[in-house]
């Protein structure tokens, strides 16, 4: 009941004409950058961070949330028509969606993904509204030791458990720690990792890191891969209306996708890839039209993963708003926007900034409605964006990167740092290192350090606090299982296989 009252207040905030305009602007921009390959929500929000000096927190978070949701909608259009996932979370959509487009059912694929995104996005946002107060009650009992252990768990899950390699994921994370530590230590005032340069005393701005890794690194990577085949845009054929059969095949997949996506997104692990793959596997298993998977394209294979993707995007907001724990690059950059307002996301956020939080949640409902309108009747507009040729697109991205970076302090040093990080981003892309853990490590690393030192100060330098508190111990054990589990499992598996080989003649 309390949640509904609060949500009512939230709608009062979100329904002011100015905030509706911010929402419209965010969703439109978000869809555009979602459609364009090479641009993502993390990069866009980073470039727009300076807006936090200009407008009220409500306005900028409504804008950012619109971009965040919009990019999820727009990304699926690119996956379906171009077979190049616009976002990592829409890889699975490309599998079946592109097949559908090629067999002339692109309209239905776009429709099921837009409506599925709406259904799952709305369910996910409801989930945020009702789950957030519950998590807050739980989180109020957290002390610094528990927070530190929770962050360790999040570090392990975002870098080691999700993704193709624990070693590479952790390497990215530690690189983020180093970048995050550059500058003056806030507790003692000592400079760290500055290599004696005064320009580095203020630290590396998150804008520079995000733009360097996601824009400059990506541009260099795409330039280096020009030999690999070009993707062709599948012309949009077939009506956007779904037949009765397509509806009946879609709606269960939407609900299942949302039910898979939201809890995984809301866990302090985050990531939209796992739920989309999971949903795809389940839909393939349950489908009565298995022959369509991988051939002409099955509509369930689009509907389920798209719903899972959007629901998990909503879920990620739960740890972000209630614990101050970002589990995706975009959430980490949003956290730095909170910091720029001097607001610390955490369990107190819902009470101290209730207008902001509930206004944000209410605007997410509105954003979903705007997005389904933007992405169905106006789909032709977005398809045209796909025709922007790559040379001008990437050159333009670099121009905007310069605005965002050079605008911070008009210092060429910032551009040098940007290009260095761009080079790092290129190598990471080329050698299959995930980039999101760098941003998460950079933002969350200093926060984890602060909690660690606070816990140690309270305990008078006694290390045992981290494992004598039961909750903290549980979180650390979970983190250890996440880190060591796959290695042990792999070892056991190999032993088993070797054992079989050792017995000749054994069938």
């Amino acid at each position: 009941m309390d949640t509904l009252t609060q949500l009512g207040h939230g709608f009062a905030v979100a329904f002011t004409p100015v905030n509706l305009l911010w929402c419209l602007l965010g969703t439109t921009l978000g869809t555009a950058i979602g459609v364009l390959p090479g641009l993502g929500p993390a990069l866009t929000i980073a470039l727009l961070l300076p807006i936090t000096y200009q407008v009220a927190p409500e306005a900028s978070f409504i804008l950012f949330a619109g971009i965040y949701y919009g990019a999820m909608y727009g990304g699926s259009t690119t996956s379906i028509l171009l077979n190049t996932p616009g976002e990592s979370a829409t890889i699975v959509t490309a599998l079946e969606g592109n097949k559908m487009a090629r067999s002339g059912r692109g309209g239905a694929a776009l429709a099921t993904s837009a409506i599925g995104s709406f259904v799952a996005g709305t369910l996910g946002t409801l989930g945020v509204a009702f789950l957030a107060p519950v998590v807050v009650k739980f989180a109020l009992a957290f002390g610094p030791a528990e927070y530190f252990s929770l962050m360790v768990l999040a570090f392990i899950t975002v870098s080691a458990v999700l993704g193709s390699s624990a070693v590479r994921g952790l390497s990215s994370l530690f690189l983020g720690f180093v970048i995050g530590m550059i500058g003056v230590d806030l507790q003692t005032g000592q400079p760290r990792f500055t290599f004696g340069m005064t320009e580095l005393l203020d630290g590396v701005d998150v804008i520079i890191a995000a733009v360097g890794l996601f824009a400059v690194g990506e541009t260099l990577y795409v330039a280096s891969r020009r030999y690999s085949g070009k993707d062709e845009i599948v012309p949009l054929r077939g009506s956007l209306y779904m037949t009765a059969q397509e509806w009946s095949r879609s709606w269960k997949a939407w609900i299942r996708g949302a039910l898979i996506g939201f809890p995984i997104g809301a866990m302090p692990a985050g990531g939209a890839e796992i739920p989309t793959f999971l949903s795809y596997a389940i839909e393939k298993k349950l489908s009565k039209h298995k022959e369509e998977f991988g051939t002409v394209g099955a509509i369930e294979g689009v509907a389920g993963p798209e719903a899972a993707n959007n629901a998990s995007a909503a879920g990620v907001l739960v740890p972000m708003l209630t614990l101050g724990l970002p589990t995706s690059a975009t959430a980490a950059i949003m956290l730095s926007a909170f910091q720029s307002y001097g607001i610390n996301p955490g369990p107190l956020l819902l009470t101290t900034q209730s207008n902001l939080v509930w206004g944000l949640i209410a605007s997410l409902f509105i954003a979903n409605v705007i997005l389904v309108i933007l992405n169905l009747p106006l789909i032709g507009l977005w398809v045209r964006l796909l025709k922007i040729p790559a040379p001008q697109l990437y050159a333009g991205i670099l121009v905007f990167s310069t605005v965002g970076t050079y605008g911070i302090s008009q210092s060429p040093i910032d551009l040098i740092v940007l290009y260095l990080l761009g080079g790092v981003g290129f190598l990471m892309r080329r050698f299959d290192f995930p980039t999101a853990p760098v941003i998460i490590g950079m933002i969350l690393g200093p926060l984890a350090e602060a909690q660690f030192r606070r816990a140690m100060t309270i305990s008078n330098g006694d290390w045992t606090v981290f494992y004598t508190h039961p909750l903290s111990l549980t979180l650390l054990i979970l983190a250890f299982i996440g880190l060591a589990g796959p290695f042990i499992w792999g070892y056991v598996e190999r032993r088993r296989l070797k054992g079989q080989e050792a017995i000749p003649g054994d069938a």
Partner: protein, 178 residues
């Protein structure tokens, strides 16, 4: 490390990955060097500013060794990625564009530097109409300067082009207002 990293009947040392691992080891070394350089006040005896850097160094050291081990066992890159040749020509034009932007942005201002960068990057990506690209770059840079930067209240370096235009706008609004 996933299990698939380690199959392959004849593991051969993968040079690019090995260099990368050694590079990461060097980064760990730099972290240690900078950690030792952190001045610590003797009054501050609890957990000081060095503890986390040391933990980071330890983690990076282990990870660098694991990366090197994986490289020696044949590397982790997928065949598809390995077989695609790197387009050095295209990349060097993009890098030239970035460097030109860095060098020119102070003397010439944001717009002029952006036009040079835009044209070079387009050329690197295979566009062969530099004059059209330069004009496009000019329009985009001006849009970025007047729209994006002014709207966000970001101050980006003004140069010849911006000053002329700002003067023109001031003159124009002056005549209308006056």
């Amino acid at each position: 490390m996933s299990i698939s990293d380690e199959d392959g009947a004849h593991p051969r040392v993968a040079m690019p990955e090995l260099l990368l691992g050694i590079g990461f080891l060097a980064c760990a070394g730099a972290v240690l060097w900078q950690t030792l350089a952190i001045p610590v006040s003797p009054l501050y005896s609890k957990v000081g500013p060095k503890v986390f850097p040391y933990i980071t160094f330890g983690g990076m050291l282990i990870l660098a060794l694991l990366l090197i081990l994986s490289a020696v066992r044949g590397g982790w890159q997928q065949e598809e990625e390995k077989e695609t040749p790197t387009d050095w020509r295209s990349m060097s034009f993009v890098v030239a564009g970035l460097v030109a932007n860095l060098v020119l942005i102070q003397p010439l201002g944001f717009t002029a530097a952006s036009v040079v960068m835009f044209t070079l990057v387009c050329y690197g990506f295979g566009s062969r109409r530099p004059i059209r690209d330069a004009l496009l770059g000019l329009v985009l840079a001006l849009a970025a300067y007047f729209g994006f930067a002014k709207a966000l209240g970001v101050n980006i370096g003004a140069g010849i082009i911006e000053n002329q235009l700002n003067a023109a706008i001031a003159a124009l609004t002056g005549t209308i207002g006056g």
